[in-house]
């Protein structure tokens, strides 16, 4: 296990480095930040001055060297636009994303497991059909569409929930609901399939031959085995959420890293882009390790 983690760390580090190099050079091909930062009627002298201040006039390789040497001292550079350390900006918003992702995934996991297990136990019956169709519809609708309809319905028409923003627990409900839908549908299907498989496996037969009751058969014998494939999918979905839920964050004015990333991309705020990518990549890496650990906890065969 330790050896595997070590290997994982090394390979993730390599991937991260490649990623940084790619992003650094490719993003600099997408236009001059000066043109975006300054108003259209700014003079060439002002632009030149801007580039000079931010070191954008140096050859890209020199810029990269400078970036790397700062990076080893954990200096991620300053945001071009916000005149603050990029890492501060990123961490600030990442905290929001992290909470949003964790809460959402926790809810999704619990709900999908319960509903999926029940559906698997009632294959082909109305409950199963209903759960499948509902999750399908939810997962097929564009999320910005759901988000806006949600605001119009629940905030404007019914006045139950605040439209957007942060502040109280009520503010979290709509964004979480919108984020919930897609991973829920997906994980529900995986849980269902996996449970159906596990319910047909020989050890379930053994348990029934032992006289074990239905509930422990499902939730003790089957579920733990059925969770193994599910965990991987949960990991993938959580990773996607950690990368930021751009659409939801944009609509609900949620200060997460997804919105930060798209804004920095559109404004060519390179340091923030890079810092955001590194922070999320590391978070995803840590999450993958947690997934591996969960895997090993669930399945003794992997622990060896």
């Amino acid at each position: 296990m330790k050896k595997m983690l070590g290997k994982r760390a090394v390979s993730s580090f390599v991937s991260l480095m490649v990623l940084i190099v790619l992003v650094f050079f490719l993003s600099r091909l997408t236009g001059d930040p000066a043109a975006l930062y300054l108003p259209v009627d700014a003079s060439e002298a002002m632009r030149e001055n801007f580039r000079e201040i931010h070191g954008l006039n140096d050859p890209v390789l020199v810029q990269f060297g400078r970036y790397l040497s700062d990076l080893v001292q954990l200096d991620f550079g300053d945001s071009l636009r916000k005149a603050r350390p990029a890492i501060d900006v990123v961490l600030e918003s990442f905290v929001w994303t992290l909470q949003l992702a964790l809460i959402t995934m926790a809810l999704v996991t619990v709900a999908a497991i319960i509903v999926g297990s029940i559906a698997a136990f009632n294959v082909g019956r109305p409950f199963d059909r209903f759960a499948s169709v509902l999750s399908l519809i939810g997962a097929s609708a564009p999320d910005f569409w759901i988000a806006i309809v949600g605001i119009v319905l629940f905030s404007v028409n019914f006045g139950w929930l605040p439209t957007s923003g942060t502040g109280t627990v009520w503010h979290w409900i709509l964004p979480i609901c919108v984020l919930f839908i897609r991973p829920f549908g997906l994980i529900l299907q995986i849980v269902r399939g996996s449970m159906i498989n596990a319910l047909g496996s020989p050890y379930v037969k053994t348990a029934r031959a032992k006289g074990v009751k239905n509930r422990p058969v499902i939730f003790v014998h089957t579920l733990r085995n059925a969770m193994l494939p599910v965990i991987t999918v949960i990991g993938d979905q959580a990773a996607a959420l950690l990368n930021g839920a751009v659409v939801v964050e944009t609509i609900f004015g949620f200060p997460g890293v997804g919105k930060l990333m798209i804004d920095s991309i559109l404004q060519r705020d390179f340091n923030v882009i890079l810092a955001a990518i590194m922070v999320t990549a590391i978070a995803i890496f840590i999450m993958n390790i947690l997934i591996d650990i969960a895997y090993a906890l669930l399945d003794p065969r992997i622990r060896a």
């Binding site: 997408t30 236009g31 043109a35 975006l36 930062y37 300054l38 108003p39 259209v40 009627d41 700014a42 003079s43 060439e44 002298a45 002002m46 001055n49 801007f50 000079e52 201040i53 945001s79 636009r81 916000k82 005149a83 603050r84 900006v89 600030e92 918003s93 905290v95 929001w96 909470q99 806006i148 605001i151 119009v152 905030s155 404007v156 006045g159 139950w160 929930l161 605040p162 439209t163 957007s164 923003g165 942060t166 502040g167 109280t168 627990v169 009520w170 979290w172 944009t250 609509i251 609900f252 004015g253 949620f254 200060p255 997460g256 919105k259 930060l260 559109l266 060519r268």
Partner: protein, 498 residues
């Protein structure tokens, strides 16, 4: 991670569902985009200006946007021309900054020098480009600005210079200090900015005690927030959503037009340009895709601008004439069938895409071969500013904002042959611009007026479209009337409480 504790706490604490942040005489204003900085010298950026201008920071002079008083005193009580090239400003006495220091001429000098410094990139310095301006302190409350060449509109320019204390370092600040009636009290990045009323403000105490700014990029969410009482003012919402009696429309000083690069055929032919103008049914847009109240433009500046020419008349929709002109040009060997690229910017204004689609459709109708391409802001900039892409004739749809009252801020950039977005290179236009810039009084008015007429009627410089209107949604608890300046500033002192 304080949010987690908050989450737990809120379950116990929250009883009111609707968080109508109505502390006493506080207002919430929802804006489209969070400012990157709250830096006084960047106040010409609308997202910063709406928070800073007139609230945190003040300027020496101020343009009256509600009446027609023109330039009014603010931190300067009066000003005069000492000689041809020297302006003298007499400063208000007894003004203090929010950090407690007193306001004097040295602050003005520092503010001006700071804005122009090459160590930071303050946006407002662009208005002083190409003129040498030297401030010199006469006494604590008097300051001279010596300019070369003469700068007749220096007092107007001073309405853009935000004054900061002389201690302010020459780097971007996140804690602005100004003389205005409000002070920045908190900034939660990504969530809100809050201003508190100062007790020691020199002027009349505004009614609003504190203002919270929230940021939502989706216009319908902004509108919904005012509707549900989560916010009091949404200064810009989409015309589509502006259907309630809470909504006010206002001319927002933006002018949309299609910039023509005259150097590429067939757009170098005046008949072709005229056909472009005649082929668009501008009337059809008003009240449909664009809001009621949208004006058809004959100049790039709004009618309240100095020297705006009332004699130029918009070209009426005349598809037959347009077709005829094209035929004529074609007969003379002008390659009118060449594909013309129409570049529009996505989300430039509400209904932008539909507008450009309709224009494309109308131009195709009269026989142009137009391809529409909607692009994001960075790419748009590539088309809009020099050096131009020249491998095919291009029309760049753009929006220009000038609420400063004088066309000088527009004319040089858009029509002088050295202007970064100029589509023309015309000696007469260059000459008119240069002369008008140096002129004062009636002469200035006359020269601008001549230029406006020349551009529209003789050169057919571009396809002018509309003076746009904006929409604000104002909650029932506050009293606020948006003006032409609402695009760039939103003085809390103009908000009344009910």
């Amino acid at each position: 991670m304080k949010q987690t504790t908050l989450l737990a706490g809120v379950l116990l604490a929250t009883s009111a569902l609707s968080p109508a942040f109505a502390q006493d005489s506080g207002v919430t204003i929802v804006l489209g985009e969070e400012p990157d900085l709250v830096e006084p010298c960047m106040a010409t950026r609308s997202n910063i200006g709406r928070i800073v201008l007139g609230n945190i920071s003040e300027t020496l002079t101020e343009l009256d946007v509600r009446g027609d008083e023109g330039l009014k005193p603010r931190l300067a009580e009066s000003w005069e021309l000492v000689d041809d090239t020297t302006w003298r400003f007499h400063l208000r006495e007894g003004v203090t900054f929010s950090d407690g220091t007193a306001f004097d001429a040295a602050d003005v000098k520092h503010s001006f020098e700071r804005a122009g410094s090459d160590q930071i990139t303050c946006e407002i310095s662009r208005y002083y480009e190409g003129i040498s301006i030297t401030p010199s302190v006469v006494d604590d409350l008097t300051i001279d600005f010596k300019t070369d060449p003469a700068q007749p509109i220096l007092p107007l320019l001073m309405s853009l210079l935000t004054i900061v204390p002389s201690e302010t370092p020459i780097e971007f600040t996140r804690e602005p200090v100004g003389t205005g009636p409000y002070v920045l009290s908190s900034w939660e990045p990504g969530q809100s900015i809050t201003l508190e009323r100062r007790d020691d403000y020199w002027g009349a105490q505004p009614a609003v005690a504190s203002a919270t700014y929230a940021f939502r990029s989706d216009p319908s969410v902004r509108a919904a927030m005012v509707q549900t009482g989560e916010a009091d003012i949404a200064p810009s919402i989409s015309a589509i959503d502006a259907t309630t009696d809470m909504d006010r429309s206002y001319p927002n000083s933006e002018t949309t037009y299609l910039r023509i690069d005259h150097s590429v055929a067939p757009l170098d032919d005046k008949r072709v340009r005229e056909a472009l103008n005649l082929g668009i049914d501008r009337e059809a847009f008003v009240g449909t895709i664009l809001a009621d109240g949208t004006q058809i433009a004959t100049a790039i500046n709004v009618p309240t601008t100095l020297g705006w020419n009332p004699d130029t008349e918009a070209r009426a929709y005349d598809p037959d004439r347009a077709k005829a002109l094209l035929e004529e040009a074609k007969a003379d060997g002008v390659p009118v069938d060449t594909e013309i690229l129409l570049v529009g910017r996505t989300a430039n204004f509400p209904g932008a895409t539909e507008t450009y689609e309709a224009i494309q459709s109308m131009l195709s109708e009269v026989g142009f071969n137009v391809r529409l391409q909607m692009v994001e802001v960075a790419e748009h900039e590539q088309y809009y500013s020099k050096p131009y892409v020249q491998d095919q004739p291009i029309l760049v749809g753009a929006q220009h904002d000038n609420s400063r009252g004088d066309p000088v801020f527009s004319m040089y950039f858009k029509y002088h042959s050295d202007g970064r977005q100029a589509g023309i290179a015309d000696a007469k236009a260059d000459d008119l611009i240069e002369r008008a810039t140096a002129a004062t009084g009636d002469e200035r008015v006359a020269l601008w007026s001549e230029l406006f007429g020349y551009l529209h009627d003789d050169l057919v410089a571009d396809v002018l479209l509309f003076h746009m209107v904006g929409h604000a949604r104002v909650g029932e608890n506050v009293d606020f009337t948006p003006t032409i300046a609402t695009n760039s500033q939103l003085q809390l002192s103009e908000i009344g409480l009910k």
